[in-house]
């Protein structure tokens, strides 16, 4: 399967390996949408199970967007990853799998990753005016948007 992805996308498929018997594919962020369309149409990965990110602040490109795909026809999973720098947009996969709508919003909410082409990218779990993205590693576990808390909750501090 990796070979078919390599044949189609060449250098855009950066790495591919197995971890605990699960297949992982790292692709160029710019090609993410094309790879996903190929995965859906030719490789029969018809369901986007999950979309999330991991923050690695020490890496050159700090975020890793992670998609978990599932194929009903093959009963197989595939994990597609793309590395992006802070502020670098990722092509949205919402038109490949509508399921990405809320998942990309959550990813934006928690990490501040922008998804290009998403029709309504706004916060989903936190209030719209909140400052900061809590799942970044430099966001302390006790940190809150104190100004928002004071203004909206009428208390001095959330802690």
């Amino acid at each position: 399967m990796v070979k078919r992805f390599r044949d189609r996308f060449g250098e855009a498929v950066r790495e591919a390996w197995l971890d605990r018997k699960q297949s992982i594919l790292v692709v160029d962020a710019a090609k993410l949408r094309a790879v996903c369309e190929f995965a859906r149409d030719s490789e029969k990965f018809d369901m986007l199970v999950d979309l999330t990110a991991v923050d690695w602040p020490k890496r050159e490109k700090r975020f890793e967007v992670v998609l978990q795909l599932y194929s009903f026809a093959k009963n197989e999973r595939l994990r597609v990853k793309a590395q992006v720098a802070d502020g670098e947009p990722v092509p949205s996969v919402i038109f490949v799998w509508p399921a990405a709508g809320w998942l990309e919003r959550e990813c934006f909410d928690m990490f501040g990753i922008r998804f290009d082409g998403h029709p309504g990218l706004k916060r989903i779990l936190l209030p719209d005016e909140w400052q900061g993205h809590p799942l970044r590693k430099d966001y302390d576990i006790l940190q809150q948007d104190e100004a928002w808390v004071r203004e909206n909750m009428g208390i001095e501090s959330g802690q």
Binding site: F95, W97, L125
Partner: protein, 382 residues
Amino acid sequence: MDETRSEGMAPPSVELAVPGADEIVINMGPQHPSTHGVLRVKLRLDGERIDGSECIIGYLHRGVEKIAEHRSYQQFAPYVDRMDYVAAVSNGLGYCEAVEKLLGAEAPPRARVVRTILTELQRIASHLLWLGTHALDIGALTPIFYCLREREEILKIFEKYCGARLTTHAFRIGGLQYETYDGFEHDVKRFCDDFGTKVDEYEQLLTGNRIWVGRCKGVGVLTAKQAIALGVTGPPLRASGVKWDLRKAMPYAAYDRYDFIIPTGTNGDTYDRYLVRMEEMRQSRRICLQAVENIPTGPIMAKVGKVLKPPPGEVYHSIEAPKGEIGYYVVSDGTTQPYRVRVRPPSFINLQAFDTMVRGHLVADVVAIIGTLDIVLGEVDR
């Protein structure tokens, strides 16, 4: 290329457009008895018909995934019980198995069978609570009393086993902390024997009831294609006719040993989802009966050590929770704390289908559709 779009299936609307001259926007919740927690729904109405909706969530957000990065692997286990708090045992099973996979460990056979029994009891308990409240929302007052009566028996077994009824923390990474108590098999058998006719009793109250049928048939239809595109899993996916259950597709715990069927629907409406969940309760009872007949003897914990340091790497593991596929994506950097834990919450992703299901229906149907999705806001918001 965009076949999902060409069939009139837009991506779920993320923001409600400004209403036209003949339209109004009304607000339901977050404090509304039918929303089962703190879900707020904005509905755009044309007359009494809904032509758009937006769910506003996050009122129960506690930052579970952030907390995970600051706890050890074992310390985080009780937190997962607080997501889907009416199916805590299932959440715990998913997390423990994910970390076991990361460690390369496997729970011993006895632990796996006991896990299967408790998880199936939990599925029955979760479906019972869904049935009672869903019927109550639609106007059938009676079933909830019966449902809670039976659920109580399951919670008593949990309480006797681990001391807790709701947020049980029943499993440990590597197996079980507690041996089963004296009379555990007897209690499970007695519950299953009693429960045998109970589902038929509920069905007598509802299945042929004209009001129930009128309120459920054709309401909130989700085709198989839509369900897959939206990532919907669990009973809503099966009611749309997709015969897919992780217990069969990718067996975990001890499910490969037992005989059970996957019920499916054909129309993908509220009524079919009701029938699927009713049949699932019967099948869960069957699994419990088979499992309890023959619980292997032996140790209940694998040798995983007191301090867990999984080798660097990552794993995604998911199980079939009562509400759908609950998945854990755990990344290890070789220390005693997870580098990242991502929970794939079935309620959150199933709720995304709400907008597709609700369009064209009346305001009164919103209550039925929220009920039939069987969401728990603790898991939606995490």
